[in-house]
Amino acid sequence: MIKASPKPQDEIFEAVREYRSILNLGCGGCVSVCLAGGQKEVQALNREINHRFKLENLSSRMDNYTVERQCNARYFEGLDDRVAGYDCLLSMACGAGVQLLAERFPELPVFPGVNTVSIGIDREIGVYEEKCRACGECVLGYTGGVCPVTRCAKSLFNGPCGGTYQGKCEVNRETPCAWVDIYNRLKAQDRLHHIYKVRPPMLWQNQIQRTTVQPAYAHRYKK
């Protein structure tokens, strides 16, 4: 799932302090799971920001509301009435949610309340690890389920660089070398032949905005 971390409170406060009436919108999706922008976090942030408004003798007020998902416009139903009267919106969703909200309410400034960090896994409550960079050319099948794009500092596709040393990365000696892990895992599975084959250069499709249409639905959207 998408992982995010809350923006520093000072940054949020500076972004919204010039507005009198602010609506903070939480998201019930990924950011709830990673404890960054769900109902609980939204309510906690509101208490803090409203307290700061009071301390600075500002008449501003921040209200909150949580929708089930900000990456799907169907969950914005009913928001029109709620949003009316607010000067700006603060979105606690990931970057995708913030953009859909801004697209839906183009007349209002929309500020992000979290920094979207990665596609990752849950290690513990509150501990998340990046696992995927959404490169669009998954090679995990050949690399023993270890992602060279995410794990290798140089995102190398055909083996380690000269900086690997005793299983660690030259960028940081605490960081395991992804390619050593790939080698060890494939060796244990007797599948080393997968990395003897030279892979063609990656197209880096994630450098441009992509739209995904599942093959079974493609006929519906044919132009």
Binding site: S32, G38, Q39, K40, E68
Partner: protein, 121 residues
């Protein structure tokens, strides 16, 4: 724990025409069941059937209205969060918008501070 029934009733009334219609239209045909992946992975447990989920959440809310208790809302919260992920893939031959009904259930629960906690094991 105190329940703000006026807030709940206002939300129920705002969506009453379509929600009541959908509850009435449901023929209990169970065709929606197979479209729910949770129903299939939970060994076809009938409690995971989309129709069961809406009848025992939104149906209960409209039936009890002001008589709804915190315990009822906890039960509804368990249905709308733990037995549905809002993947929106459920299918109803009569065109009932099941995800919209579950969404209303969640919206009502949220007003009473009942929502899924991800910081608890």
């Amino acid at each position: 724990m105190k329940v703000n029934t006026s807030e709940i009733v206002a939300l129920l009334n705002a969506e009453k025409p379509k929600m009541k219609l959908w509850l009435k239209v449901c023929a209990h045909c169970s065709l929606c069941a197979e479209s729910c992946f949770l129903y299939t992975v939970k060994d076809r447990d009938p409690r995971y059937m989309p129709s069961y989920k809406v009848i025992h959440s939104i149906g209960t809310l409209y039936r009890k209205k002001r008589r709804i208790s915190h315990q009822d809302l906890e039960t509804i919260g368990d249905i709308v969060w733990n037995r549905c992920v809002l993947c929106t893939r459920c299918y109803c031959p009569f065109g009932i918008d099941i995800p919209a009904m579950i969404t209303l259930g969640r919206k009502i629960c949220r007003t009473q501070n009942i929502y899924r906690r991800y910081d608890e094991k």
